[in-house]
Amino acid sequence: MRMKILLAFVLSVGLSVASAQELEIFSWWAGDEGPALDALIELYEAQYPNVVVENATVTGGAGVVARAVLKTRMLGGQPPDSFQVHAGEELIGTWVVANRMEDLTWLFEEEGWLDVFPPDLIDLISTDGGIWSVPVNIHRSNVMWFVPENLEAWGVDVPTTWDEFLEVCSSLQGQGVTPLVVGESWTVQHLWESVALAELGPDAYGQLWTGDLSFTDPSVVATWERFGEVMDCTNDDASGLSWQQATDRVVDGDAAFNVMGDWAAGYMVTTLGLEPGVDMGWAASPGTDGVFMVLSDSFGLPVGAPNRDEAIDWLRVVGSLEGQDAFNPLKGSIAPRLDSDLGRYNAYLQSAAEDFANDRQVGSLVHGTAAKESFMSEFATVMEIFLDTGSAQAAASAAEAVAIQTALGR
């Protein structure tokens, strides 16, 4: 009898453990970006009240630290149920090639997502073998920020090409204003990809990443030369500034322009309380009008996720119209879905959504879309070689050597 009671007790404990469902979401969204993720999680918890969500964020360094933690967990065979990953090569070149993700094509078909997500974006998260993640937001990399009032005071128009910018540059320097402000290392690379896109055009820019255009091609070397001219118009204390401090320089009137992804709009509108279009203005970075350099965060389903069913439900929420429109206005990004309700977004985001729907789309290098991580990481070394030697040829040769070593485009 006593045995039976004990057995019943053990069984009931076992059952109750099994019925308390769990879901672990891994991301690097904390701080300013935390509320957006919380909104998404709240929506999930409202739909699946018996699931306990564990929000595993690892903060710091735009995901540098989080990705390191994720890699050790994956190598140790303990994947989270779903994790944040940049659409593009960071997803494909790191995780899909290593057979660590589950194909989600069936989910896209079931939810009808093939019709609501733009085809260019679906290409970014697909290989011949399937579709591998659910995109949750869209950021634009090639945006130039300024304060319209200040430009008027300095007698300067917004340049639409880098040639125009270089003309404006000397006039601004004469007035003691930094023409273009950059920050720590990755923001300089960020500027490079905008300059390269302008100089090469979207076709040749795309060919760099597929291996069809060599980095030592004269047109690419010319890109580095142009980049050097642009860098001559920047501040000399760059490596000491975070991207927010660089944005502050523009807002404070110490600098005229800043090329940064449109999370800068989120920072200026939400954190600094500026009115978009009045206190701060934007334009496509010079020479890239009509092209949308895209980066996108997405969530995927790792092979061996401990709570696979809950994770699939999570992905349904992430891809739903309701989920995307809850997340993105808070995050300061636009929804990848073309049917999102633009009334919920601010003036900048509405204009970005319009560009996203109409513009040509290309991938960002620095933010994991265009090239595999081994190349992307070593590109920092290429940039150091350029800043150290000032030689376009040396930088081009180094970039080509890295491309060969990391088998870029293959």
Partner: protein, 373 residues
């Protein structure tokens, strides 16, 4: 064989948990890292993060590439940075610590207060120190504004963002420089052996020194590190990092020195004074020689802190600024951002070797000393 007494059995039982843990988590993982560093883990993206990566041996290819590969210039700059950082950091911490300790040892008023003030930075983590100093070393503010408080023009040194480089040398001359340094040490040892009257030993040492010098004089045949000149030197951006590190650790060396100074018997100083020694001579001939052992200990401790430095620089200039980077940062980036785990492991092994060359001689001598006692 000695009998297994109850006492010995207890001792073995008590020690075994820590021995087993050490064997697995220290020596086991050193072995694992060595193994990984000899493979190609990360070259093929399909294997880099696979659940069961298939690795192939490439033996010492990763090491060879680090020291002579065209693309690995950053690793070599990191090594040079680390050398300069370690030198100035140890010298600065010891010097400043000694000055503080002597000042406090002279019965100043409020000694307890100042001791706490000097020791306090040591209680902070390098991340906190790094963040604070990052702000203070901003070119537009912080330290550069200080002179304006007393009416001087503001400083304009670009601290962490400087790209200036002094004392440049060609990386290809590294074997020559190493050989010359070793030859100089050998000559010194020769002189010492000669003075001690050990002629045979002196002759051997002199021959070795002569051989090395001859090798350098003939243009160091047999080693070609790089096909082209590669300038390396002391990046001035490191100065800010060195200052922050000294700020953090000099209080610690002060505490070590202060304890040691207090251990110098007053009788010794008294007798030196009675013999007519000036205060300077008392320090020069009585106190400083007694500080030798503690200086060595401090150098070892600071040396291994310095060789492993990571968090301070990560907080001050981030992971990508090559002018202030060190091998530990590169190891992290290589392994966990670029997925080149074999490269990361190879850098880790180079770091381990460097720390070992500092620690092992110290351990050997201190163990010998204990046995003698």
């Amino acid at each position: 064989m000695r009998r297994l007494t109850r006492d010995r059995l207890t001792a073995i039982l008590m020690l075994s948990p820590s021995l087993i843990l050490l064997a697995i988590f220290v020596y086991g993982f050193i072995g694992q890292t060595l193994y990984v560093s000899l493979t190609n883990w990360g070259r093929d993206p399909a294997q880099a993060l696979a659940l069961q990566p298939r690795l192939e041996f490439v033996w010492f290819e990763n090491y060879a590439r680090l020291f002579s590969g065209v693309l690995e210039s950053r690793f070599r700059q990191d090594l040079v940075n680390l050398f300069f950082f370690t030198t100035f950091f140890i010298a600065g911490s010891l010097g400043l610590g000694l000055v503080f300790a002597i000042a406090l040892d002279r019965d100043v008023k409020g000694e307890g207060f100042f001791r706490t003030v000097f020791l306090f930075p040591f209680a902070l983590s390098f991340i906190v120190t790094g963040t604070v100093w990052r702000w203070m070393l901003q070119p537009q503010g912080g330290l550069n504004v200080l002179p304006t408080l007393v009416g001087l023009p503001r400083g304009d040194f670009a601290w962490l963002t400087s790209r200036e480089r002094i004392w440049t040398f060609d990386w290809r001359s590294l074997p020559d420089i190493t050989a010359v340094v070793i030859a100089a040490v050998l000559v010194l040892l020769t002189v010492m052996a000669w003075r001690e009257g050990r002629r045979g030993r002196a002759a051997t040492l002199a021959a070795a020194a002569a051989l090395l010098s001859a090798w350098v004089a003939t243009g160091a045949p047999g080693i070609e590190l790089l096909p082209f000149p590669e300038g390396r030197g002391f990046n001035l951006a490191l100065v800010g990092i060195i200052i922050a590190a000294i700020w953090q650790m000099s209080g610690y060396t002060m505490a070590l020195y202060l304890a040691s100074l207090r251990g110098v018997p007053e009788e010794l100083r008294e007798s030196a004074r009675i013999d007519g020694g000036s205060e300077l001579q008392v320090y020069r001939y009585v106190v400083f020689p007694l500080l030798g052992p503690i200086t060595l200990s401090a150098m070892i401790i600071l040396g291994h802190v310095s060789l492993k430095i990571f968090d301070l620089i990560f907080a001050m200039t981030g992971p990508d600024l090559a002018t202030t980077s060190v091998p530990a940062l590169l190891m992290y980036i290589r392994a966990f951002r670029a997925n080149q785990f074999a490269d990361g492991a190879a850098i880790a092994m180079v770091l381990l070797l460097m720390v070992a060359t500092v620690i092992i001689p110290y351990l050997v001598t201190s163990l010998r000393g204990e046995v003698r006692r």
